[in-house]
Amino acid sequence: MKILDILNNIDRRIIYLILLTVVVLPLIFPSVEKVRVMPPVRKLYEAIDNIPPEKGLIIDFDYEPQTAPELDPMSFAILRHAFHRRIKLLVLSLYVQPLGLAQNALTQVVEEFNSAAQTSEDSIIYGRDYVFLGWVPPPIIPILGMAESITNVYRVDYYGNQTDTLPLMAQIENYNDIDLLVSISGADPPKWWVAYAQSRFGLRVGAGITAVSASEFYPYLQTGQFSGMLVGMKGAAEYEEMVERKLEVKARRKASEALLSLTYAHLVIIIFIVIGNIGYFIRRRDRRKQ
C-alpha cells in the first residue's frame, strides 16, 4: 500500500508541474495533425459559405481577453472565410471590452489578404467590403433596433465615420439584408440574438462559444435555433481545418497547434482522476475490512 499512500498524498504542485510539462512541450515542438471536423462546425461553415451575394454576414465579437485563447482563433478563421468569399461583412460588439480584440483581428486578417492582393479589386477595403460598427449600449437595444435600420442604431462606426456615408451600408439596411449572424462569445449573447433577433425577426444565428458553456448551448443547436456552432479550441481548430482544406487559405492555425497540448493535458487529468478513484475505492474497501 506504500505506492497507494504516495499517490493519495501527492502534492498538488507536482500535478501542476506535470501538467505544465505536457502542455509546454507540444507548443515548443509543434505538429499540426489533421483535425476531424464535426457536424456542428461543418454546419456553420456551410451556412457562411452559402450566404448569397446580395446578403450580408454580421459577426458579433463578444469576448474579453480572458476567453480570447479559445475564441480568437474562431474569429480569425471566420474572418478569413468571409473575406475569401467576399461576403458583405458587418462587425459589432454588444459590450465595450471586446472592441480592441475585434479591431486587432480585423486588422491582422485584412493585412493578410491585402499583402497578397495585386489590385484594388483583390483588396479588402473598409467601407466597401466590411464595416466595423463598434458598440452601442445597452445590449438589447441595438439587437431590436437593427431590425428597422442598422444605420439608425449605429450612426457612426468604430472609427467615427457616419455609417450612412459608407458604400456597404447603402446595400444593407436592416436584418432583411442579412443572411446570418455569428455571435462569438464567452457568455450569453448568442442566446440574446436567438431570443430577440431570431424569434422576432427570423434572423439566422450561429455561435462560437467557450467550452465551459458548451453544455448550456447544445440544446439550441439541437432545436435548430443555431445554424451551427463552434465549441472552444477544438471547434476553432476544426474551422481552421475547413478554411485551409476547402478554401486553401494558408495562415497560422493557432488553435490547431494547441490541440496536442490539449490532448496530453486531458490524458494527464484523466489518469489522475482514475488514480484518485482507484485509491478511494481501495481505501474504502480496507476500511470496511477493518
Binding site: P69, I140, T210, A211, Q222, T223, M233
Partner: protein, 213 residues
C-alpha cells in the same frame, strides 16, 4: 530564443507570472498583480463609460446642445443616488421600476418563445427532430434518449409527491441524466481552463521569450 525588448510585453509577462505564482502558494507578487488588475480595470471602466456613454449620450446633448428633454433620463438616473439619503431613499424605486418595466416587457415574450417553446418543440419525437441529429437512423434513438432524459429529469424536480413507484423510478433515472450532464459540463470546463493556460503559455513562449513563432 529571441526575448522581447518591448517593455509592455514584459509587464504583461511578469503580471502573468505573478498570478501563476499563486499555484505555489499565496504571496505578495500575486496580491500585487491582483490589486493592480482591479484598480486598472475600474479606472479604465470609469473613464471609458464617461467618454463613450455618459458624455455623448447624456451630458453633451443636455448641457452643450441644449436638448432639454434629456433632463428626464438625467433626473431618473440621478434618483439612483437617493439611496444615500435615508429620508428619500424610496425614490430609487422609480428608476428601478422604469428599468425593470421596460426589460420585463421586452424579454418575457422573447424568452418564452426562444427558451421554452422552442426547447419543448425540440424534445417532441418528430421526423424533423430525428434529422436534426445528423446521425441518420440513429437520430431516432438519440431523440428517444433525449425525450426520456427530459421527462425523467423534470420528474426528479417534482417535489409535490414522494418519490415512490413510477415517480421514484423516473426520478432515479432522472438523477442519472443529471449526473451525466454534470460530467459533461465538468469535462468541458477542464477543456476550457486548459485552453486558457495554453493561450497564456503561447504568449509567454512566443511574444515574450521568442521560443515559438
Amino acid at each position: 530564443m529571441n526575448i522581447s525588448g518591448n517593455p509592455w510585453i514584459w509587464v504583461s509577462a511578469l503580471m502573468s507570472l505573478a498570478i501563476f505564482s499563486f499555484l505555489y502558494r499565496d504571496n505578495p507578487f500575486y496580491r500585487f498583480a491582483e490589486h493592480v488588475f482591479v484598480g486598472v480595470a475600474n479606472g479604465w471602466a470609469v473613464t471609458f463609460y464617461w467618454h463613450n456613454v455618459l458624455a455623448p449620450s447624456l451630458f453633451d446633448p443636455l448641457f452643450r446642445q441644449g436638448q432639454l428633454y434629456y433632463i428626464i433620463p438625467f433626473a431618473a438616473g440621478m434618483l439612483y443616488f437617493t439611496r444615500f439619503i435615508p429620508r428619500v431613499s424610496w425614490l430609487v424605486r422609480i428608476p428601478i421600476g422604469l428599468y425593470m418595466g421596460y426589460y420585463v416587457g421586452v424579454s418575457i415574450p422573447a424568452t418564452i418563445q426562444a427558451y421554452i417553446i422552442k426547447q419543448v418543440q425540440g424534445t417532441i419525437l418528430s421526423a424533423q427532430n430525428f434529422q436534426a441529429w445528423n446521425a441518420g437512423n440513429a437520430g431516432v434513438v438519440w431523440s428517444i434518449i433525449l425525450f426520456i432524459g427530459v421527462i425523467c429529469t423534470v420528474s426528479y424536480f417534482f417535489f409535490s409527491r414522494e418519490h415512490k413507484g413510477v415517480l421514484g423510478l423516473s426520478a432515479r433515472v432522472g438523477i442519472i441524466f443529471v449526473m451525466i450532464g454534470f460530467g459533461a459540463a465538468f469535462g468541458y470546463t477542464v477543456m476550457a481552463r486548459i485552453s486558457l493556460l495554453i493561450g497564456r503559455l503561447q504568449f509567454l513562449l512566443g511574444p515574450w521569450l521568442g521560443i515559438i513563432e
